[in-house]
Symmetry: C2
Subunit: 230 residues, 2 copies
Amino acid sequence: MTKVTAQLSVSLDGFYAGPRHDGDGDWMASAESHGFFRVTRWVTEAMSWRERQGFAGGRQDVNSEIVAESFDAAGAYVMGRRMADGGEVPWGDEPPFRAPVFVVTHRPRERLVRQGGTSFTYVTDGVESAVAQARAAAGGKDVAVAGGGSLVRQVLRAGLLDELELHVVPVVLGTGMRLFDADLGLDEFEGIELTPTRVVPDPQVTHLRYTVHDRTPLTLDDRGAGTEKA
Amino acid sequence: MTKVTAQLSVSLDGFYAGPRHDGDGDWMASAESHGFFRVTRWVTEAMSWRERQGFAGGRQDVNSEIVAESFDAAGAYVMGRRMADGGEVPWGDEPPFRAPVFVVTHRPRERLVRQGGTSFTYVTDGVESAVAQARAAAGGKDVAVAGGGSLVRQVLRAGLLDELELHVVPVVLGTGMRLFDADLGLDEFEGIELTPTRVVPDPQVTHLRYTVHDRTPLTLDDRGAGTEKA
């Protein structure tokens, strides 16, 4: 059965990139890219990712298996507009997705068909619609929310996310673009509960997978009051 | 050899308590306490913690072993003023530390000696001094930075932290007091690198332990440029 999943590489302090780069300067020289490349280094060094990009080399290890598993599980993608725009040139004629990608955007644009099975469909009527279209296109496989963080939060906020996997990279960045920012629409007395379903340790990155549940009121704990030992 | 360590329970989105409660209202009724009790629930349910508090019951499981291990490893504690003030009444005549506690504060106060080996020494000349005094008092065991988050950040920022353990609780709070906030004094092009040394999975909480290294410049990754397959 199709699940809606999100995987994101984050620093130990929760950033998936350095501070947001705006304007016309060179993105590659920006602090945003420096943070982004640090937290995704384990991906770029994975053989399975490099093969998808047509690059030689890389490591054949558990991280490479996890990248391959993510590609295999996804029957369709949902993506934010900024990520899609930023990737359009570097991904080239044969992007690594090999599946339909639904881009959430306010700007209408004609569908873009690339080689190798990847297409980009620009969805202007909201994240729920993009997820629904991706579900219909996924052929029974999963819908992967590719990012960025703002889109992952929108999907989480809308209660549409079934599974979240954080790839926690052992670095503290101190500043940057946070996956979890203050726009989840949670009341101060509730939380979104999750269940850990898989932990894969590795020196480069710790993979933490969760099933996402509903919002739940936070309950007080009585700290043992009334249960003193005799 | 004495290490300076910090252990903190945090939500998946990095909060160790709900939004900070200021003023005279009932802390137990605040959003801060609701978040705090959610992320520390695994501690209050651990038999080893309950025994230290004189409470009956609790679970004898891997989480209880980790609480016991933390108590055993600490020869002295460093603590923030707000945590020390907040704990003074609930911890009672025999606080759970059973070791010297050095409280970083601006307000001079006479040393407080409690039963069971716990004392509180109020240090007014800064975090470095408090850590040095705790080292001298630790008798070869570790110095544990007990919290709160602001103090952990000060110790990390000063380059004094050797080991960090996050107890990651499977809940998203959305808002609250963040362990990692924007006062680490890191340049946008550098990070604090860490090495994961232990991962202990459990349905209630994932224990992630790291050795802390120095600040390191973030390097760009060329994303495979120049290494295309023939």
